[in-house]
């Protein structure tokens, strides 16, 4: 559940459009389930569909995405308000930086952050595990540069 939200989050900043995108992803998964042969895990299958729906979403978007303030999460009882505020700020910083990456690097870094193995990522991205590793390295470097540039 969180995986689909987060993949959508990396492509759409507007909460209303993101909600529609998640709905669209779910519909695509439902339609594609008939073709699921169990060659990969359900998580890999769902992530693969979500990535492609997001690419479709990006290509169909009429205008450049609006930069909308990300909603702040409810403060956790375990954390002090200052720490929570700092963490929310870091989250926003990270998400906005990811949204600036070129799409091929963005999909690689999101899968990396989600903890997919290079093998699983290779299945989703349709490239060799070696190429996945290289792409992730480049994506990490670009992300670092964007985050440093923003701060």
């Amino acid at each position: 559940m969180g995986l689909l939200y987060r993949i959508a989050l990396s492509y759409e900043a507007d909460p209303a459009l993101r909600h529609e995108l998640v709905q669209d992803i779910l519909l695509a998964i439902w339609v594609a389930l008939a073709n699921f042969r169990g060659e990969a895990s359900v998580k890999t299958f769902a992530a693969s569909i979500a990535q492609k729906r997001c690419i479709s979403h990006v290509s169909k978007r009429a205008r450049e995405p609006r930069q909308v303030e990300l909603s702040t999460d409810l403060p956790s009882a375990a954390e002090l308000p200052d720490e929570q505020a700092l963490r929310n700020d870091q989250k926003r910083h990270l998400v906005e930086s990811i949204q600036q990456l070129p799409v091929p690097q963005r999909e690689a870094i999101v899968l990396c952050l989600e903890g997919f193995s290079f093998g699983e990522m290779a299945t989703i991205l349709g490239i060799s595990p070696n190429a996945v590793m290289l792409r992730c390295q480049r994506a990490k470097a670009t992300l670092k540069a964007i985050m440093e540039g923003r701060s």
């Binding site: 987060r6 990535q51 290509s59 991205l125």
Partner: protein, 205 residues
């Protein structure tokens, strides 16, 4: 403040955008419902149009009505078949890799653009055929009386409602054409991004 490492970023990332489980399950249910409804809507569309046209063939007062009704039947079946094929294509796109997906999306967008252009081209003769079809239903002796039949049909409010619907359809097609062109440009730009990234993957850049 220490600079966050990748593990910290992953933890931060996985803590973002977590939605409400109930909302998510409601969305999943809605998606299933929408998927089924789309299938039923397609079937209802065909049944409605075929059901509306077929009786006029059997109760046809003349040859023109029969010919135009058959033309409209063929057009209806063609449109429905194209829609079904398009949906099946969209479903199979989900299981391919991003490059194949982009290529298919590009082919799809080009095909859609061609379809919209074709629809715009076909629209004018289709309107003429429909007017002749409706006029022929109002004429008593076929071709000789056709002009009077058309005039009689044109005096009905439903004729103007029908023409207004066609006008709205033409506007929608132009809007769709503009969107598809934009989508095609975006897809081509994405495709170039992937090409560049692929060259870098194999160390060619």
């Amino acid at each position: 403040m220490r600079e966050p490492g990748f593990e910290d970023l992953a933890e931060l990332w996985q803590d973002s955008g977590e939605g409400d489980r109930e909302v998510f399950e409601a969305m999943a249910r809605r998606a299933r419902r929408k998927g089924r409804l789309l299938g039923y809507a397609d079937l209802a569309f065909v049944l409605l149009l075929v059901g509306g046209i077929l009786p006029s063939i059997f109760m046809a007062p003349n040859a023109i009505t029969i010919v135009t009704a058959i033309l409209l039947l063929i057009a209806t079946l063609w449109v429905s078949w194209t829609r079904r094929r398009h949906r099946q294509m969209a479903a199979t796109l989900n299981t391919s890799d991003p490059t194949a997906f982009l290529e298919s999306s590009l082919a799809n967008a080009r095909a859609n653009l061609r379809r919209v252009n074709l629809s715009l081209l076909v629209m004018a003769p289709a309107v003429v055929v429909t007017i002749v079809f409706k006029g022929s239903q109002h004429s008593r002796s076929g071709i000789e009386d056709l002009a009077r039949g058309i005039a009689e049909w044109a005096s009905l409010p439903r004729a103007w409602i029908g023409l207004a619907v066609v006008f709205v359809l033409v506007l929608a097609l132009f809007r769709s054409r503009r969107r598809l062109r934009m989508e095609l440009r975006q897809l081509e730009s994405l495709s170039l991004d992937y090409e560049r990234e692929k060259r870098r993957d194999v160390g060619m850049e």
